[in-house]
């Protein structure tokens, strides 16, 4: 079973989603909802770069830790690129600071199957706590609470099929959470 984790990557000011899925030694990566994904990726040049192959073209992406937390310095074909990366949880938390209302609602972002509910209505949860597991394309995706608070509604049942945008778990944030 693949275990996956979502990241939000800020590239020159635009935010993108990336999903890293692992199973044992294997790793796969998907970007946004694009069907194009690298056929393989490997660290090269003594860990200074990652090679990603798309069809017959190979992109050599030089990477290193940037100054600020989450910053990753990138160079591609002599061009420097400024990026920031964070996992989905942190991205949601940051977003919720800006969009107070509804910030506790976790929604499905791809079609899938609810395989496990880890919380019940009325239960208190902490930010970062896993609340629901959705399976899609043979990958299990554990979604976590973006805020601390109380679960007030779970509009889906275990085994249910869900579509992008469907609300899965609604959490009422704690004051200051």
């Amino acid at each position: 079973m693949w275990m996956k984790k979502r990241y939000v990557v800020d590239l020159d000011g635009d935010q993108h989603n990336a999903v890293v899925a692992r199973r044992g030694e294997a790793t796969e990566i998907a970007v946004d909802e694009s069907p194009a994904r690298p056929a393989n990726h490997r660290p090269v040049l003594g860990g200074r770069a990652l090679s990603l192959r798309y069809g017959r073209r190979l992109h050599l992406i030089h990477l290193s830790e940037g100054g600020a937390g989450g910053a990753v310095d990138v160079t591609v074909g002599g061009r420097p690129v400024t990026t920031m990366v964070m996992d989905e949880l942190r991205a949601q938390a940051l977003e919720s600071l800006g969009t107070a209302a509804g910030s506790g609602t976790i929604c499905a972002d791809i079609p899938g199957l609810v395989v496990e509910l880890k919380v019940e209505p009325g239960q208190k949860v902490h930010q970062g706590e896993p609340v629901i597991v959705v399976e899609a394309m043979k990958m299990q995706n554990e979604l976590c609470a973006a805020v601390s608070g109380t679960v007030i509604e779970i509009p889906v049942a275990s085994g249910a099929s869900v579509n992008p945008g469907d609300p899965l778990v609604v959490i009422e944030p704690e004051p200051g959470g």
Binding site: Y7, A18, V31, H41, H59, I61, S64, G77, R79
Partner: protein, 505 residues
């Protein structure tokens, strides 16, 4: 006959100290590095046979303290001192002190530096020697009325210049008579404050000039040869960033005239060692003496690439008393060379200097490349010195190949850490004014738009970057000493012990 040096002290740091140490080693001469405290593991120190600490980080307390440098030479038994460029390289009193200490200064005589260090005295000397100088006064001017009279005679615009100035400081353009009084007062004030000398002179301002310079070598006994020209018109903040040799702006006839003028210049001061005569080339093909740099020049590698010479070796041989190692008739230009100065600076933000640790460095290899550098992975670029990190020099059979090769190697050269100007060089190599050789010293200010200079990424490149960054983050997290690191996919990484130490400061 001549006394061979067995050990030479290099009174510099960074790429030029490294290059001189390499040159000395190839001559079988041991090298002594000097260094400030912050530079104790700088590359020039790692490469030298011996190293002597000469003070704290600020240059004024270390690299500029002549007595400490001389003391280090005496302690280590060095017979001579090579000053590189900058620091003590054009300091007459220092070179006298070196000679009084019984050591050899690898450079020109002190008097030469002093004549050339003062723009007015240099002008006078050159005019006397028949070298063309920009129309203007040879005497300091203090009275606005006199200045206006002179300017009226020359024709506007004119340039007010501090005699003791340099590096683009202490200059002001006057476009009409009415501006003269205020401009003169302000320029004198600045010159007095900056250089301790408020002597100002008036010169015709040449519009759209090119900066052409000629490398010369003299034996200090009257013999002088030239090693052809370099063009250095790509400048930002009055500082060169790209140099080339030959110059695309010279016809063979003009080349001969300008090189002859340089030889005349150097002969007029009985020049010893390697020096550079700088000229302004006007759009009408007239050229004028600007100044002479009495030392090894930053951009000397383009000359070496094109002429197959070794200017450091030539300097050392002259200083040893061996005389000139080249004859004028044997020197020819072959192919084309470009130098790209790699500065830690942000082109998109007015070329402001940047600092930081060199996180990662991938150097370009293959045919026609030379990299002179003073940095390495893990090195912390200090804030105390010039932000030049390296010089990337390419050679090609002709200008087109040199440019194409420049593009190739600028893309292969990847540096992470401080913000730097490698992408700026790639930008420059795409500009029509650079490609056709018509660029002047105003090229950067005219053509560079800090808001729109980086090439666009393709969609696939964007995808690949996003994927790579997410993978990097995912690996970085699992590399942490968290429970995750027992994961089978990352549990057996091996860590280079020293790389871990490098990160550990």
């Amino acid at each position: 006959m001549a006394q061979k040096f067995s050990k030479v002290l290099v009174a510099n740091r960074g790429e030029i100290a490294v290059r001189i140490i390499q040159g000395l080693r190839e001559m079988g001469i041991a090298s002594v590095a000097v260094h400030s405290d912050v530079d104790r593991t700088a590359l020039h120190v790692l490469m030298a046979d011996e190293a002597v600490a000469i003070g704290p980080a600020p240059a004024a307390e270390s690299y500029l303290v002549g007595e400490r440098v001389i003391e280090a030479a005496k302690t280590t038994g060095a017979e001579a001192i090579h000053p590189g460029y900058g620091f003590l390289s054009e300091n007459g009193p220092f070179s006298r002190a070196v000679e009084e200490a019984g050591l050899v200064f690898i450079g020109p005589k002190a008097e030469t530096m002093e004549v050339m260090g003062d723009k007015l005295s240099a002008r006078r000397r050159m005019r006397a020697a028949g070298v063309p100088v920009v129309p203007g006064t040879d005497e300091a001017v203090r009275d606005p009325e006199v200045a206006t009279e002179i300017a009226d005679g020359i024709g506007y615009p004119v340039l007010l210049k501090a005699s003791a100035g340099g590096g683009g400081k202490g200059m002001r353009i006057v476009r009409e008579a009415g501006e003269m009084a205020g401009a003169l007062r302000r320029t004198m004030g600045e010159a007095g404050a900056s250089f301790g000398d408020d002597s100002i002179f008036v010169e015709k301002y040449v519009e759209n000039p090119k900066h052409i310079e000629v490398q010369v070598l003299g034996d200090g006994k009257g013999e002088v040869i030239h090693v052809f020209e370099r063009e250095c018109s790509v400048q930002r903040r009055h500082q060169k960033v790209i140099e080339e040799s030959p110059s695309p702006s010279l016809t063979p006839a003009l080349r001969e005239r300008i090189c002859d003028a340089a030889v005349q210049t150097a002969k007029a001061v009985d020049y010893r060692g390697a020096g550079t005569v700088e000229f302004i080339l006007a759009p009408d093909g007239e050229f004028y003496f600007l100044e002479m740099n009495t030392r090894l020049q930053v951009e000397h590698p383009v000359t070496e690439m094109v002429t197959g010479t070794d200017l450091v070796r030539a300097m050392v041989l002259v200083a040893q008393g061996d005389g000139l190692c080249y004859r004028q008739e044997d020197l020819v230009q072959r192919g084309w060379s470009l130098e790209f100065r790699l500065y830690a600076e942000d082109p998109g933000k007015g070329f402001t200097p940047s600092i930081g640790r060199i996180e990662s460095m991938t150097v370009p290899l293959g045919p026609g490349v030379r990299l002179d550098t003073g940095i390495y992975e893990g090195f912390d670029v200090p804030i105390h010195y010039d932000p030049m990190l390296a010089k990337l020099v390419v050679w090609g059979e002709d200008r087109d190949q040199a440019i194409a090769r420049g593009k190739r190697v600028l893309r292969e050269f990847v540096l992470h850490g401080p913000v730097h100007n490698l992408p700026f060089h790639l930008w420059a190599l795409d500009q029509p004014a650079f490609l056709d050789g018509s660029y002047t010293t105003h090229f950067v200010e005219e053509a560079f738009d800090p808001a729109d200079w980086l090439p666009a990424l393709t969609d696939e490149e964007r995808q690949a970057i996003i994927a790579a960054v997410a993978l990097y983050e995912s690996e970085r997290r699992s590399g942490d000493s968290t429970p995750e690191s027992t994961d089978a996919s990352v549990g057996n990484w091996r860590l280079n012990a020293l790389r871990a130490m490098t990160g550990n400061r």
